[in-house]
Subunit: 444 residues, 2 copies
């Protein structure tokens, strides 16, 4: 038996994302018969993604139907689930914002582009309140933490943020040589700011195995240095953070914590290996190249009618939690997932109930229920959680109250800012850039 739902994907031109969703829909028989609307501002990309989806579903007899639109209202109409994966202005605008910040003395840019993203997310959520108020909003575009918090505070939409970062614990297991099926892990926190609070191997605390690895094998591992740019989980920076905060940072966390790992390329290379990690000029360029390659790849697969799509995009479950969670909600298939949800009931102690935190949750037909965490150790709270919360509050409240000052305070809290004038001049240039007009009118 299957329950067809209507899914709208905002930013569906991200071919890899859309292809992965469609593939998962194909392999979850309970969701056969669903309808997917692809929405993007790029008509050409939409065409390709839709063609790819139609062929894949057809080949796998998934009975999925599709349509495409550049009109958001149309996409949202009747939706049960809205997946938001959009990047406003694409990589071009993100990179332009980075260059602008670099000109003002901010190596590798600031987080100002998060304002534009979060403001856009709120727009989508408000449209949903109007058009499909009972739909779930599944947020995968960043910033998940700030974006989901903003939408939670400003709308009644059911917001669920999802990310891959928590799979980082698998990298730890791999590097330590542990069999994954005997590993269990908990890593709550804020999105991209999560910490391994529990790490068991065959039911026993496995932190001593990490300590042993650090003691006896870490130096050799770092010396090898054949890391992929995304390979930050067992970097020197991650281990330094573990020592500094008392728990292992997971997934994207080692990239995000600690301005002192990121002052220049040389410093980045010391902490993250020869590429300087994901966020260096080297690592990030490789990532952008990989993204472009992916787009071309999907294009080729979609258009090459000589071969079945399913020969390339195999009908196997992906790691993506989105479709399994939709299936859990729709068909009452209870399961454990890593989600970003409001902190209602103090899932994580000491933070507001309307802050969106990341935690494990039981998802079923009854909804999403976060698993209450023991309080974080004081060292982690004081050292890492409070300052990250601070940044989020500034961004969220700036957009809620349309307050330019709070964006300025964001920059003033950036360790690289050396004077009020420096922060003011970047903010002014950024706010007066015509490409930024949708945000500028919100920060007055």
């Amino acid at each position: 038996m299957s329950t067809g739902v209507k899914i709208a994907i905002i930013g569906a031109g991200s071919a890899q994302f859309s292809a992965s969703i469609v593939r998962d829909l194909c392999v979850y028989p309970g969701l056969h018969g669903s309808h997917v609307t692809f929405m993007d501002v790029d008509q050409q990309r939409l065409d390709r993604v839709t063609r790819l989806a139609e062929r894949l579903s057809g080949e796998l007899n998934a009975d999925l139907t599709f349509n495409k639109t550049t009109n958001r209202d149309q996409a949202l109409k009747g939706a049960d689930f809205v997946l938001n994966t959009a990047q406003v202005g694409g990589h071009t605008w993100t990179e332009a914002q980075r260059s602008m910040a670099e000109k003002h003395g901010y190596y590798r840019g600031t987080r100002l582009h998060d304002f534009g993203q979060a403001a856009f997310f709120l727009d989508v959520a408000r449209d949903m309140e109007r058009i499909c108020p009972n739909a779930w909003l599944i947020q995968s575009a960043n910033p998940v933490f700030e974006g989901c918090t903003l939408m939670t505070r400003e709308t009644k939409v059911k917001v669920l943020g999802l990310c891959h970062g928590h799979y980082g614990y698998r990298d730890i297991a791999r590097v330590l040589g542990l069999e994954l099926e005997h590993v269990s892990a908990q890593m709550p926190g804020f999105n991209h700011w999560i910490w391994l609070t529990d790490f068991l191997y065959e039911g026993k605390d496995a932190y001593p195995l990490i300590d042993e690895w650090i003691e006896s094998r870490a130096e050799a591992y770092w010396a090898k240095d054949d890391f992929h740019y995304a390979d930050n989980q067992m970097s020197r920076a991650a281990i330094h953070q573990y020592k500094l905060f008392g728990l292992m940072p997971i997934g994207d966390t080692p990239r995000m914590v600690g301005w002192w790992y990121h002052t220049d390329l040389e410093t980045k290379q010391h902490w993250y290996g020869h590429l300087g990690g994901f966020d260096s000029e080297i690592g990030w360029q490789q990532y952008l190249d990989d993204m472009s390659e992916n787009v071309r790849w999907v294009e080729r697969v979609a258009m090459d009618e000589s071969e079945p799509v399913s020969a390339t995009i195999k009908p196997e479950r992906s790691d993506e939690q989105i479709v399994p969670i939709i299936n859990a909600l729709v068909n009452d298939v209870e399961g454990l997932y890593q989600v970003n949800i409001p902190n209602r009931g103090q899932v994580i102690k000491g933070f507001p109930e309307d802050l969106v935190i990341e935690c494990q949750a039981v998802v079923s037909g009854a909804g999403v229920r976060g698993i209450t965490q023991p309080p974080f150790p004081p060292k982690l709270m004081a050292g890492a959680m409070i300052p990250r919360w601070h940044h989020a509050e500034l961004l969220v409240e700036a957009l809620r109250s349309h307050d330019r000052d709070m964006a300025l305070l964001c920059l003033l809290a950036d360790q690289r800012t050396q004077s009020l004038e420096q922060a003011e001049s970047l903010l002014n240039e950024w706010l007066t850039d015509p490409r930024n007009k949708d945000v500028a009118c919100l920060l007055v």
Copy 2:
């Protein structure tokens, strides 16, 4: 009718402080018959303060008795109230720590000396648990915020922090030309980090009067620039903070908020006037000179037997809240005071119950009851309160858990820190300084 109590003053060599307490005891008949123990490590200063006190009490027939000691245990024995006003190592060690930090690139020093102070406060509180567990601890030495929080978390002692900073609202009234008796004000927050949430003149909101002053009279006021170093309440910095955070900072707050006002002397002079404010090399030197002058003055008054002490130290109530509060507690004389107490019952929303906050409180024989505040505006929470809380948590938890890393994180959160190495090298020098051995053994 009077209720004699036993009061121990730790750091009683601070002659101005001790003289002010004794004077107030003389003018509160309800506390006549009390006994005061002066405790200090400086025997000569002790002698002078005791002599001064004896003469003053004798002249005013206050029936106070005194003794002096360099032994803390002895001072605490039988105490009903312990007043802690001590500065560990005096100004000499504070200034030495400042110079040390300046050598590592921290203009005008860091807050590292707060660690030594807070660690000492905790020592005193632990001694009280042992020797006089039912006594009130009245903390006036800084850091009141961190020190009181640390003692609250680590001991069962009744802790009450007191400060003069909240009287800053009177400076606002004076500059605006308002009659003080028609002004009412509320300024909760953390010590040295308080904000004018309510400001009424003749029962009406008086914030518009501040706005009007800024609009029409502020520039002329700043141009005059004949400010005393302590005259920061209506400085350019204070008004800038008001605009940035939405509420007027009160008392010492304008000195403390915003690293960007303090990057160099010239910047300080722009924001605080020609002396550069309290914390510039000019302002601070004047303050130190004034302190020395005070010591000499008290010395002269104490030793000059040709004239009654009370001719100089007149029997009038001082602004100091300490004795009135003791009187309120002991003789059940209900009154409103500005105090620093644990945030039990969420007097200030959104912060832990074991954090010591500053608020108005009703004090009487029943104890100290904080007046619950409406939540702070989001702009103030996000912009000012959370980052200040962050710093306090690092300091408090570093000392609770004996964790050097958290002291390092304090420095890493200092805007002037440009690299991990810079923070490490200052911390190392500071921890290995022999004068700092009592703290070094706590931060391992």
